[in-house]
């Protein structure tokens, strides 16, 4: 960075190398590996700029059972994401990896999904679940929208059924005439409308 350059920490050769890295990163890496003579991992030149250090991925990270549980748990860092999404997305969050380790520890203890979720609720409160449990007052969350739609829909159907009235086909010009519009006028109007259509 600027300040480091001012301190003269890089040699000219390194600067040329870095410029090349910016242009052809893949090629430079290949070169680096070839120089070292094996595929062993090399250290990054600025590890502090590469985000939080990560642990190696184990089978637990891809275990559908664990992912299923984590998708029901909210990360408590305030991000509004579930634990799985947060730990695989927000790589600056230190909370979701810790919650993940807790889930893994409980799975290793042989606890069921229900027991794990209950343990989290006991520790963090109901808010730790991504959706409210379907019990007590929470049922209102699930049923009020549906009930409102069904109620309004039924009322609408009822009102419409009461208010709707039978109509007579256009072809039946007589009824038009009976209602005060002559059959010629009705036919003319329909012809005009179909033209516009």
């Amino acid at each position: 960075m600027k300040s480091q350059r001012a301190e003269g920490r890089y040699s000219r050769r390194e600067i040329i190398g870095l410029s090349l890295a910016a242009l052809f990163p893949g090629a430079l890496l290949q070169g680096q590996r070839a120089q070292e003579g094996d595929s062993a991992t090399t250290r990054l030149y600025r590890p502090d700029m590469a985000g939080r250090p990560r642990d190696r991925i184990t089978d637990y990270e891809n275990d559908p059972f664990i992912i299923g549980i984590e998708e029901q748990l909210r990360c408590t860092c305030g991000c509004n994401l579930d634990v799985y999404t947060c730990r695989t997305t927000d790589f600056t969050c230190g909370v979701s990896p810790a919650l993940h380790r807790e889930v893994v520890a409980m799975v290793e203890d042989g606890r069921t999904a229900e027991e794990i979720l209950d343990a989290f609720i006991a520790q963090h409160g109901e808010m730790v679940l991504m959706a409210p449990k379907k019990e007590g007052f929470n049922l209102a969350a699930y049923f009020v929208p549906g009930a409102a739609i069904v109620t309004v829909g039924s009322a609408l159907l009822f009102a419409l059924a009461r208010r709707s009235r039978p109509a007579v086909d256009v072809a039946a010009g007589a009824s038009g005439a009976a209602a005060g519009v002559s059959s010629e006028d009705a036919a003319k109007l329909e012809a005009e409308l179909s033209k516009l259509e």
């Binding site: 990054l44 969350a141 929208p145």
Partner: protein, 680 residues
Amino acid sequence: MTVLGQLALWLALLLGVWGTVVGFVGGWQQRPELIRSAQRATYALAGVLIVASIGLLVALARHDFNVAYVASYTNRTLPLVYTLSAFYGGQSGSLLFWAVVLAVFGALAQWLTSRRYDHLLPHVAGITSAITLFFVIVILFAANPFERLPFTPADGNGLNPQLQNPGMVIHPPMLYLGYISIAVPFAFAMAALISKRLDTGWLHAIRKWTIVSWLFLSIGITLGMWWAYVELGWGGYWAWDPVENASFLPWLTMTAFLHSVMVQEKRGMLKKWNMVLIALSFMLSIFGTFITRSGIISSVHSFTQSAIGYYFLGFLIFAAIALVWLLMSRMPVLESESQLESMVSREASFLFNNLLLVGIAFSVFWGTMFPMISELVRGTQVTVGPPFFNQVNIPLGLGLLALTGIGPLIAWRRASPRNLQRQFAAPVAAGVIVAVLLLALGMRSFYAMMALALATFVVGTITQEFVRGVGARHRLHGEGYPQAFARLVGRNRRRYGGYVVHLGIVLYFVAFVGQAFKTDIEASLQPGESVDLRSPWGHTYTFTHLGVSQYEELNRFTTAASVEVARNGRRVGIMKSEKRQHVDSFGRPSFEPSTEAGIRSDLREDIYIVYAGSVAGTEEAVYRFTLNPLVWWLWFGGAVLVAGGVVTLWPGASSGAERRRAMAGYAASLTGKGSEVAAR
């Protein structure tokens, strides 16, 4: 320039008060000199707010860090385009943006509206001036972007890296334009209520504004999804976050309004309902602003919590009381001019479409507010996240998709069994065939299968409409098929543009289906190591880690991890995902590192690679590899939707014919009170 900006804001305050008062008084007393003055006040208001905005833009461009807003959201290393987009990147700047756009829309409404609706314009000026005045008050007394610091910092804090994305340059203004432009149709509706001129005039006056507003909202929401997808790195585009929900709510009610307004135009029905819908849309646009800025609901998108939430709450309460009073007092003049004649008619299908749209809006609102309700009732906060919203809204969404196909094909007033058979036999058959095929191919996700079957049905209905229309023109006028197609659309842009919009919506649903089949895997790989992932289409992808490189670029230090991708053993290419550490002009890290996903799209699926970080500071990289089916169709659907909207809006010779047709339909509905003449 900031002094000029500040002065312009105070002038805007005076002009806002003047425009509001003379607008309403002039409209009420029909005094031409006051009416003219109100109109000029809207132009002047737009002018002074443009000056204030230029003042802020100049301060941003000049890095005037003595201005608190400039110091908070920019720094010297920020590229110019993002420096200028910081105008709406923070609380007070975005309020100024809102005020200036609203004032410009208010002035345009006065300038562009036909003289036929002169009787509405003074009230429209009063309402747009009053809303602009509210924003100017909030800016001056609670969130002033020209506020100065007691010292001048050498550099600013910079803009959040996640906002340094082309999507964020365009997504917020689009969404704001959508939100803000609702104020114009709202103002016309209220003007019609105040002046008791409740014929279809105000509907004609706002038709284009309504579509423009809806289009901006649609574009804003879609761009927001795109930004979330490419920038946030979680491999999805919609998380039912409260702020996303807040943008979705007015979209739903505006969509309902766009449909129900046709029933009023054709049949003189649903007058009260249309008033409620447009008022609700406006209130929801303000509500969205309220929850984004008040901090009452936690969201990743929220601005800093501040006292301005109280201003918005006060405005919402005042506006709600005024609206209810106005509506109640005008009930007698809002009676329908005709009645529904059959449950199997286009009017009825539009009613049910409205029921579902408003039902979805209610369920989204209810879910968004439920944590607060639960806390009030039980003293316990709960989380209402994606599992809840998906469970409640997917069935409703499918119902809506079905109505998208049904509504446009049913005849007005009453559909006969023959009409139903003629219109629906082929599309229903196509939908059923697709459902059976999907079952036979092993698809077991009920919702996904239903969505694809219904999508086929809707595409069938749209195709049938185009084919029949083109065929009829070919036969009757002897036109070639391309010419017949062009003339068919050109002569009835609203109808066929609407079909194209529906096609866009269908494509959205197709893309949503893909989310049911998303697969991902995490892996830590040393250079040269590989991991396999099987896609829902049956392909096996092999991801081989090539290495990690680090370099400086622009205002950041980048760590890039490269991966070679192969599908079924055949090389697809090299993809790269980055970790970006933004730095200030002294080279100091200015924010937490952000992640740039590597994305490769095709019609079937997206390959989505995220470099999570390195193990122990080495080139051993931790990745998340995701295969995201059908995402491309979402962006394509957005483009189709916009194209349909543009067709609908396109000015042309047909506008007169359309107006005549609308009037004829309306007249027919009046005649139909006694005569029973089918409108179609």
